[in-house]
Symmetry: C2
């Protein structure tokens, strides 16, 4: 336990705020770009949080029991960096390296910095991550609190209201948002300007405790933080009325200063003189807190958790099971042995089969209803705090959260995204429910692992590998049932593939994944009868990809033919083509080349050119 | 003008609702899948709308003055189809072709059908499109009204609240939403079940007139529609308390029946018997309306609008202008001559330069603040009703609206998306602001035109081509200034490219686009000095792509080297590789292969391997 901290005087906190402003202005002017006026509006909010409200170890930002702070308005990064300099983690001089290539003090915060959990800068995401961070406190039985600082312009993002709904539904009273209502957005006034009730009524309608304060009145802020801390059963949003550029006569409350650094020379000097004149006499400077307030729950295990396993799956060869169902089964088993595993779903748990996990681990299952952005956002927050989250929905609806997936990749957090109902093989529901661009969007992220199993056995094995692979990963599952083709002793690897049929006189290599593996196998049988041998590959790992084996097959069989239940660009065909380009090898592609329509899976697979007859035709062409 | 319609009796409308239920049940049972219980809850809502509230020509669903209906809860498609059969546009027997490959009555509605403006089925999108459709009424000076039917589960989508904010901000009193609060979502109760105030308070907080009614009480619905019609200055949301599966004893108000058709045979027969027993005696059956109520504004031009032109751009060769700025200039000019052109922006109009359009055409500029989903969604609605909308934001933030872009492509609507600030060349702001996957996500959509100009002149010409090209299109623009390299007489084409340097002894073809064209030209100059000739291509049209020219260059120069300010997967390199694969040609790729960081544009372009020295090295390798 750390000693109870003496609350600094108001004058001392105001002086902290003035120093945060000075540091933000200096750093952005040195960089020649950035958002000093967006920092200035938030200076008292941040000063009061960091020096009188939050409890954390300023020397160890990753202490699991620290209160957490998420800068959802990521463009105010300099004030965050200044705060960590003020508490002593960073050197003040380092602040002047802002935005430089050789500095981790980037234009918007990223987890390269020990005190940043998730990258922000795409507005409306930090508050979603904060929901996940607050949920994590329950998971690890810590009573740390989570604070998220939003901008008023940011409140127009729908994801903010997904977060509001989720946090209220889960009764997250350890979560406290602060909206820095400075009234000015980038290109003009924010939508409600300083109409504080326009904001408060929304948060209240969404089930939050909401209060309005003067965001430059340190005493009022401290009272508000206390009120938030004492509010039980629901989260609190503090709506802080502020002025953009506060304390800077040139810019205070004025338009036209968004994202502009003050020019070095007389402009900067006059700003600094004005700010320096705002220092107050103080008895004693504000001190950073001594450590987290948390009383650790004794039931929480001290030993680091071990990786779990799905054991030996009991599927029989030839048995028919959809990969989406095997996903749910495997996830539930993995959760038995590792309480870091959590699942999230967007009201389709009975389709993605995440309900199997919920049935066994209800306290680690989070229902996000139909709100994919906060589902991925809160998974980011959970992952940043040590959980291994598996958010799942129809793969088509992951497009809804692509910006969140993008930022999760920038954060390089450990999220394990599962998308079911891939491709035209879902059938009658039609194109709105078919994911035909998910491989493209996932593969575009350079650090995303992309897996696509074809049977239940490989799904289970790949899920286990995916869980303990460091970094973001995606698994694509299918709606139709497919036969089990792998035995329990088969080994899989991230970056691997399986050669299912191979002979010395193969005339082509057909590369499928998911449901097209079975079309390729059917084509193999037909071609065998006609005296033609082909090689068949199950490319279950699209990223990373086994270039060496593909190149070897290209050398041995001369032709590579890919077949995928996905659009032409960015999927399996492109993945293979890029993997073998260095060997001077090209690829023939069978894929879905137009927007499909409703029909039976069989009709659609055939009509869009990815069925076994099309493979046979391509081989014999 | 059409004669004033006699309002049908309540009994007649209730009988319409019963027929809608019967048709929805029959069609889904025949299909063997679908959502009959989601149709049943909405039957009175739809019956009262189509037979007593909406004014439209039932024989001409595309009459520009018709009241519009958007089925935001797209999975209730059968009730929509049944309504159009009931008014006589479809044959009742056709309803039994639901979800068949040879039928346009797909699992979820698409604009293959004349009465569908935008495809729905990804929840939370129809209401965004309805905002655009309502905005379009202002554009064409029609007083048609727009109705959108939402599900309660759908209200968890953040995009719904983006739409709520946008519609209230624009005072769209011609917009009326109806939420079918049946209390049951797919996998369990919806988040607020039948807590009607939980919904009403949110809509009211967002500035809407909201009222709660019994959604099975036709009289109450008619009164609510009238109240909505008479509410001025703000949109209305009618929260209709309903029962899922209403009228079907087996399923009414019960869980476990989402998305399940009743089994043909005794199960179906018992459902039909129950429904048929609900017919009431009626004096006169309900009649469809005779035509739109609209009094056409006489100032509205009768002649169809002509395509406009940007004229002859006045840029001088060598002059430095960012393509994003040329975009704004061209759009403003195009808007002078064609009032179908509208612009939307997400609070970055001073960065995307859409402010140039706003300055000249303020009534056709829509500020969506920081809400990219409703920006694209409302552009979809505008496009569906004849406008040519140009929504713009940082290309990175288009990832936020990828699901909307996906559905716009399924709808094949005429939206012209503009993404600025592409790639690492934005510099210091860091990765959260850099679009490095936008080409991948846009190219993945098979009917999306993808353009990427390198200078101001080509930007203007391509923008004009893009505006009048049928279907969705995307233009990627850059932050840095680039020199003008094309003269005013240069011709461009969708699907074209420009060979900028060419000789008989070129040893490689370097293919760039946007800022990398200039890196390629610098490399050319350096290599020329060393006695090596290369060909240089500006690939301004990535989709469609000029395969023939690329193949010719490959034959003539042997090597193709692509260089792009984009990640490896799905961008320019993959586009070229796919285009030349049939010729047995492979591509060497220079691209961004990891998550970048902050720095100056020059540092980043060089560090991530896409600068002229890297091109020189690749050529001489």
């Amino acid at each position: 336990m750390v000693p109870v901290q003496t609350r600094p005087s108001i004058a001392a906190l105001r002086n902290v705020a003035t120093r945060l402003r000075i540091d933000s202005v200096r750093a952005t002017s040195e960089a020649g770009s950035g958002h000093p006026t967006s920092c200035a509006s938030a200076a008292e909010i941040v000063a009061a949080l960091f020096f009188a409200e939050m409890r954390y170890d300023p020397r160890n930002p990753q202490n699991p029991d620290n209160d957490r702070f998420v800068l959802s308005k990521g463009h105010a990064a300099p004030v965050l960096y200044a705060a960590w300099a003020e508490v002593g983690l960073l050197k003040r001089d380092d602040l002047l390296t802002l935005r430089r290539f050789d500095s981790d003090l980037e234009g918007h915060p990223t987890p390269r910095l020990s005190f940043v959990d998730v990258a922000t800068g795409s507005l409306g995401q930090g508050i979603c991550a904060a929901v996940g961070i607050a949920l994590n406190a329950r998971r690890i039985k810590s009573d740390y609190r989570t604070y998220a600082l939003l901008g008023d312009g940011e409140s127009a993002e729908g994801s903010v209201w997904e977060a509001a709904e989720a946090a209220a539904h889960d009764g997250l009273d350890s979560l406290c948002g602060i909206t820095d209502v400075n009234g000015l957005a980038q290109s003009g006034p924010s939508i409600w300007n300083h109409d504080m009730e326009a904001y408060a009524s929304k948060w209240r309608a969404f089930g939050w405790h909401a209060l309005v304060v003067d965001g430059h009145d340190v005493g009022a802020l401290l009272d508000a933080y206390e009120e938030a801390r004492e509010t039980k059963g629901r989260p609190t949003m503090i709506l802080a009325r502020t002025l953009k550029g506060k304390g800077i006569p040139l810019a205070e409350g004025k338009g036209g200063w968004h994202g502009k650094a003050f020019k070095k020379g007389e402009e900067l000097e006059s700003v600094l003189r004005a700010l320096e004149s705002q220092f107050l006499p103080e008895d004693e400077p504000a001190q950073p807190p001594g450590g987290p307030r948390t009383r650790r729950d004794q039931s929480r295990p001290a030993a680091p958790p071990k990786n779990a396993t799905v054991g030996t799956p009991s599927y029989k060869l030839g048995e028919s099971i959809a990969t989406r169902e095997a996903y749910g089964t495997a996830l539930a088993k993995l959760g038995d042995g590792d309480d870091r595993i959590v699942a999230l779903d967007g009201d389709v748990k009975n389709s993605t089969f995440s309900e199997k996990f919920e049935a066994k681990h209800p306290d680690r299952f989070f229902q996000n209803f139909i709100a994919e952005q906060v589902m991925i956002g809160s998974a980011m927050g959970l992952a940043a705090r040590g959980a291994i989250p598996f958010p799942s929905t129809f793969a088509a609806f992951l497009t809804r959260a692509y910006d969140f997936i993008r930022m999760a990749c920038i954060s390089n957090v450990n999220i394990k995204v599962a998308g079911s109902h891939a491709g035209v093989s879902i059938g009658e529901d039609g194109p709105s429910q078919m994911a035909l661009e998910d491989l493209a969007m996932m593969r575009a992220q350079p650090n995303m692992t992309v897996l696509y199993p074809c049977d239940a056995m490989s799904t289970e094995r790949l899920l286990e590998l995916m869980a303990y692979h460091a970094g973001p990963a995606y698994m694509r599952t299918s709606r139709p049932k497919t036969p089990v083709i792998y035995g329990p002793d088969e080994r899989f690897a991230i970056g691997g593939l399986k050669i299912l049929r191979e002979s010395a006189n193969d005339t082509a290599t057909v590369i499928g994944a998911g449901i097209t593996v079975f079309e390729a196998l059917k084509a193999y049988d037909q071609l065998q009868k006609a005296g033609t041998s082909i090689r068949v590959i199950d490319l279950y790992s699209l990223q990373p990809i086994d270039s060496d084996s593909l190149l070897r097959c290209a050398r041995e069989t001369r032709r590579l033919i890919t077949v995928e239940d996905h659009y032409a660009a960015g999927g399996l065909g492109d993945a293979v083509a890029a993997a073998v380009a260095a060997g001077g090898v090209t690829v023939e592609r069978l894929c879905v080349r137009e927007i499909p329509r409703s029909g039976t899976p069989e009709e659609l697979i055939d009509h869009y050119g990815i069925s076994s007859p099309h493979i046979v035709a391509a081989v014999t062409r």
